[in-house]
Subunit: 225 residues, 2 copies
DNA sequence: GCAAAAGTGTTTGGGATACACCCATGC
DNA sequence: GCATGGGTGTATCCCAAACACTTTTGC
């Protein structure tokens, strides 16, 4: 094949699983399909990868066009997830999809299209293709990553309270954490610095604000779980 | 692009990083290139992925043809690694390569081609493309995987002694482990069973033989490091 | 003074680490 | 009996887990 037959590559596509936290619920960005196949179903934002562009370039182009979200400017963390190749994305033939996972804060504010929406991961609508599987895979990866890296930073604003940080962990991991143990551990890990600002939120005792020492991916010395 | 221009996908290729242990050294399977580009350099076994075959099917076909190794029959573990897309694999244009990692025992016995050889990972020859980077990535992944799964099983024969098991870990992780602590931990993890057989190896005290309880991927309850 | 969220310490158990000697065999 | 690799136990330290009350503020 490599030597004599004319080489025909499969279709190459890219898809993004974009997470944000809203109201302490983990949400995924979905697009309502306006055309066949799967017209009317919800799908991950994605599209074709042409010759001459990298998968990340293709993703940037395609996600911006379909949703208004810029995966570089509007997200705090992006990583390649997995390449799925068992799906007939298009009735005409076999397609290979390189998927990415991204996390950000307030990403919904960048949506420009009316058929685009964040859905909570635990109440997803009917999904096109194998996108349910891809989201599940991404969620697992995110969960694992939370326990041995500082990935949460991607979901939080620049400053935040310890309670907000704990609620973020709880939302993504899907289980409650002990308040005192959580604070002890997070502080002993040295991931965050206390700022000298406070937040007077509603009407009660103000909370200290913290910031991440390094708002970029770091591996933890001890795992958090 | 998705709508009007004629769609031209990039070239799609697959590459395999196949590990084995030999003489307690971690080795990678390499192919000496007989043609341009990179003629004379060593490269990972790989090739083109045509339309209509999955990446794993393409890999199976290509690796068997170039080396004689059957990635399903001759390896104990295979997983997808990462998709690299920044490389001009071919002077003619941009190529995307889906890479896999595989591990086996005595894989060298299946080599049928004279330009194919296992090299120790710590003394690799001049490598084609970005294959040095891919091997480094695979080695890191393997290392991480060893600490939270039972992946070592893929490198060992059906029965083995505790010393052999320890030496395997040490070879892959690249550092010595304490003998008593290692045995305590491995046994307490319940990954292996003691068989009633012994091995009289050279001429000294015979060693008990062990086997893996489950010779397939499992996640450890406590991490090994 | 009361409602609401912020903040704070101690005890206990288990696993990780460090460390050195005796045992079984073939020659 | 000796050379070689196989096999074993204990003490310490640190981290994880469990657990409840006081403080600060606005009203």
């Amino acid at each position: 094949m490599e030597y004599n037959s004319p080489y025909v590559p499969p279709t190459l596509t890219v898809d993004a699983v974009i997470f944000q936290l809203n109201d302490n619920k983990l949400e995924v960005l979905l697009v309502n399909r306006q055309s066949e196949p799967f017209k009317g179903s919800w799908a991950l934002p994605g599209g074709y990868n042409a010759e001459g562009e990298t998968t990340l370039e293709a993703l940037k182009r395609v996600v911006a066009k379909k949703t208004g979200v810029h995966i570089i400017d509007d997200l705090s963390y992006v990583e390649q997830l997995y390449t799925f190749d068992t799906v007939a994305r298009d009735p005409r033939g076999h397609a290979v999809s390189v998927t990415y996972m991204g996390c950000g804060q307030g990403v919904n504010k960048h949506i420009t299209e009316s058929n685009v929406k964040f859905y909570p991961v635990d109440s997803l609508p009917e999904l096109a293709y194998d996108h349910a599987e891809i989201i599940k895979y991404a969620h697992q990866r995110l969960n694992a990553k939370l326990t041995y890296t500082n990935t949460v930073y991607a979901f939080l604003p620049k400053t935040f309270t310890l309670t907000e940080l704990q609620l973020s962990y709880e939302a993504i991991m899907g289980r409650p954490l002990d308040k005192r143990n959580f604070r002890k551990k997070i502080i002993s890990l040295g991931l965050i610095n206390k700022t000298d600002k406070m937040r007077r939120d509603g009407a009660y005792r103000p909370a200290h604000l913290y910031e991440f020492r390094t708002p970029s991916l770091e591996y933890l010395t001890r795992s958090l779980d």
